[in-house]
Subunit: 156 residues, 2 copies
DNA sequence: GTTGAAAGACTTTAATT
DNA sequence: AATTAAAGTCTTTCAAC
């Protein structure tokens, strides 16, 4: 009956709740309860605990950048020039077309995702970054894995 | 009164709705209406149209991978060996620790995000990929820009 | 396209197992 | 921890502007 070393305390019911919310975060508690095989109050309590445990970090929306007028996406690797790391970080944070940025180990200090309306806009933004960093840019052609949940159970 | 060339049809009210939902996708229509300065029925209609226009692609959750038992994240650049592109794509799709993958231009065919429980698990997964592709892996140390909305208005 | 009111549906609380 | 029932709240519809 003891939990395995990798047990994260997520049982089958929690898994169904997380998957249902990942598919539609605005689902009603009643539907969520049905998906999980519980009554509404039980589902509400499970949900409350998943938030409390910080397993659910946020309820949010996926925006279609193309539908908003940004048909192009790029992944940019950024290596700041000596002494320019913080400056570069602020440029990225202050440029709203950068919708995601990770600070990583290795030659590239940052790997960031950029959405733009046109190649001209991309050029303008990269010219600005290039004053303080070397960059290497790859245009996104497709996304074979869209953001998905990690494996939910371990060692059960 | 004519719209600018870059107008995407998102007015101030839509912007407030999108931002409120990005902050909490489970907010009630009543609260959403308050955030937008509308009545509940009006907010419901705006929301319906944003979904219909596919500007809102999905309501979803952000999971804290660390809280689920995956404290390590990596960004992996993947260059499949000749003839192995589809094989590599399937390996990535079938390995649930890859939570995101983009197909890009340039030397690297894929750029993917990986969550793992340990360096040993990372090693196992990368060994598997390395049979069919060259890889370059960067560990994520921090995320200065968490997933955020692109600029919502253009040329107003 | 927006408002306000009413009917209906959902959520939450509290008592119970 | 889960269930039922009831009270409270929210959502949706519809008539009106």
């Amino acid at each position: 009956m003891s939990a395995s070393p990798n047990d994260n305390g997520i049982d089958d019911i929690d898994q169904r709740i997380l998957q249902a919310l990942a598919d539609n975060a605005r689902i009603s508690l009643k539907e969520l309860a049905q998906a999980a095989g519980l009554s509404s109050p039980s589902a509400a309590e499970r949900l409350r605990r998943l938030e409390e445990r910080r397993i659910i970090a946020a309820f949010t929306i996926d925006i279609d950048a193309a539908a908003l007028g940004y048909p192009l996406q790029a992944i940019v690797r950024v290596r700041p020039l000596p002494g320019q790391l913080h400056v570069v970080q602020h440029i990225i944070q202050d440029t709203p077309q950068f919708v995601e940025c990770d600070k990583v180990t290795g030659d590239d200090c940052f790997i960031a995702r950029l959405v733009v309306a046109s190649m001209a806009e991309l050029d303008t933004i990269l010219d600005k970054v290039a004053e303080k960093a070397e960059t290497s840019t790859s245009m996104v052609k497709a996304s074979p894995v869209k953001r998905r949940l990690p494996p939910l159970s371990r060692g059960r």
